[in-house]
Amino acid sequence: MDLGSMYQEIILDHYKNPHRRGLREPYDGESFQVNPTCGDEVTLRVKLSDGKVADVSYEGQGCSISQASTSVLTDLVVGHSVEEAFATMDAFVELMQGRGQVEPDEDVLEDGVAFAGVAKYPARVKCALLGWMAFKDAVGRTSTNDEVEAS
């Protein structure tokens, strides 16, 4: 087995030098996600502004795949509309659940294409998706809050 197919340089770079790590104020929604099979966890916050993702901050403990994936996530969604961010998320989830059969679109996923190799290892797919599940949940919590405030 070629370890390099999973641990692309891009992934190791993000793991060693994660982008936007740390929990920041202010934020509109927060999510705590855990992988019950391995105990990895992430707390992730989202700050929205004018329908766009203004900031994503996070803290957690996990393997290189889950940490790097969350770092890449922040690059892919910050500065984009929630709609665009969710479209990117869908593309990433499709890639990860594709068992190595899905050809990733670099224009959409940028550094995220490096995770194509991870998709061949079912046990690690959850690792790559942990941060994304937290992002989806955190955004959901911001809209709930908006509705509460509006009513």
Partner: protein, 430 residues
């Protein structure tokens, strides 16, 4: 398989396990170090199951035809063998689907006791009563007790774990008190490898009239170094559980041991066919144990397979199995201790410990370490190993766990240590 005296012949043993000769991940010989999760099965066990199914398969304890007779004999014959293996009598052994079900059986029988008449009164648990467990329990010996407390209003208490990975029994008399109804603890930790002292806990439980349940999933299959097979009768516990698939047998079968007089008085958990004495529309009475606790058509070929696994282990001798595993543990501890940045989680020497070794590597997450090991053909477990509170108490989210069995060789221990070194190199921490 060899049955001669002297040390265990690992080459001969391995020849009985076809799966051990396969390769993984592009031709790497399989180094299987995950027997704590599930063990592999020798051809003797596979053949016994197949032979039973090809010649004598029928529903046991029903029907008067010849096959039904043979199947019942095979099923009860397996119970006798397994009972003898753990120092019990056949009537003290209940077959369950796994060890987890065995623990749930006792926990639910206790909450059913409240409405089961005078005979069951001694099992009743309620507000003011206490259940004692330990912080090193597998979730299977923790969650059912949490749930029993929730159903009955009883309180859960627990023993902590020392920095060396031993049970902290310094406050034994304060944790187990007159209020304690059950003391449930693991014989050998599935993470730390620690073998817990049964005697002081049983003695204290007896003083206060509490029941003792022993989780023997990681001890019965391996025996105890210097002692040989685990003898539940001599340990004088009230209940114990172990599972078939961790001791060379099939999955789908576990064993609950219960002292005869307790099983006689204990109300059932699952009810239905097979476990009854007399059924009328208005109500039913129940069969004596063990049948009272085996509702429905039971697993049969699995019992036969587990009987064959016991034959296999007996032929080798549990003292030799334990002695071999002692050597493996010694080598693994020595090898891992030599690596800078590797920290063993659990006892660092072989005193009162089995051949399960958990560790963390500075700068390499356990998941990543296992991926490197897997790429070299070395199969280990990573995560919290169903002992999340234990990991939390150690301040770590996860560990790498290598768990050995009679078929592992010393060179496989070396493959583990080399693989850890390679993981450190790959992630640039050594």
């Amino acid at each position: 398989m060899t049955t001669t005296a002297g040390p265990l012949d690992v080459t001969a043993v391995r020849a009985d396990f076809p799966i051990l000769s396969r390769t993984v991940r592009d031709g790497k010989p399989l180094v299987y170090l995950d027997s704590g999760a599930t063990s592999q099965r020798p051809t003797q066990v596979l053949d016994a199951e197949r032979r039973f199914l090809e010649t004598s398969n029928a529903a046991v304890h029903r029907g008067a035809h010849q096959l039904a007779e043979e199947a019942t004999e095979a099923y009860e014959g397996a119970r006798e063998k397994i009972a003898a293996f753990v120092g019990a009598t056949p009537g003290e052994l209940v077959f369950t689907k796994n060890a987890t079900e065995g623990i749930n059986l006792v926990a639910y029988a206790m909450s059913n006791a409240a409405t089961a008449g005078d005979e069951a009164k001694r099992f009743v648990v309620g507000p003011g009563d206490e259940i004692v467990v330990t912080e090193m329990e597998h979730h299977a010996n923790l969650v059912p007790w949490q749930q029993l407390c929730q159903r009955t209003g009883a309180t859960l208490k627990w023993f902590g774990v020392t920095d060396e990975g031993r049970l902290d029994l310094s406050r034994l008399d304060e944790v187990i008190t007159e209020r304690t109804k059950v003391v449930a603890f693991v014989h050998q930790s599935n993470v730390l490898g620690t073998v817990n002292p049964v005697e002081p806990l049983v003695r204290r439980a007896r003083e206060v009239g509490a029941f003792v349940l022993l989780d023997a999933c990681q001890s019965v299959p391996h025996g105890l170094s210097g002692q040989g097979p685990v003898n539940l009768g001599e340990l004088d516990v009230d209940f114990a559980v172990f599972s078939g698939h961790k001791m060379l047998g099939p999955s789908g079968i576990g064993v609950l041991y219960g002292r005869r007089e307790l099983l006689e008085a204990m109300p059932p958990f699952l009810t239905g066919g097979s476990m009854i004495e007399l059924v009328r529309m208005e109500g039913s009475t129940f069969a004596p144990p063990p049948q009272r606790f085996e509702a429905g058509v039971p697993m049969t070929s699995q019992a036969v397979g587990l009987g064959a696994a016991v034959d296999y282990l007996n032929a080798i001798g549990m003292d030799r199995v334990a002695a071999h595993e002692h050597l493996l543990a010694e080598r693994a501890l020595a090898g891992l201790k030599e690596l800078p940045g590797v920290r063993i989680i659990g006892p660092r020497d072989t005193t009162d410990r089995g051949a399960t070794v958990a560790f963390v590597i500075d700068g390499v997450h356990p998941h990543d370490a296992s991926q490197v090991l897997d790429s070299l053909g070395v199969a280990v477990r990573v995560g919290h190993h169903c002992a999340w509170p234990l990991h939390r108490s150690c301040g770590i989210p996860a560990t790498v766990r290598a768990s050995f069995y009679l078929y592992n060789s010393l060179s496989e221990v070396d493959a583990l240590v080399d693989g850890v070194r390679e993981a450190q190199r790959f992630f640039g921490v050594a």
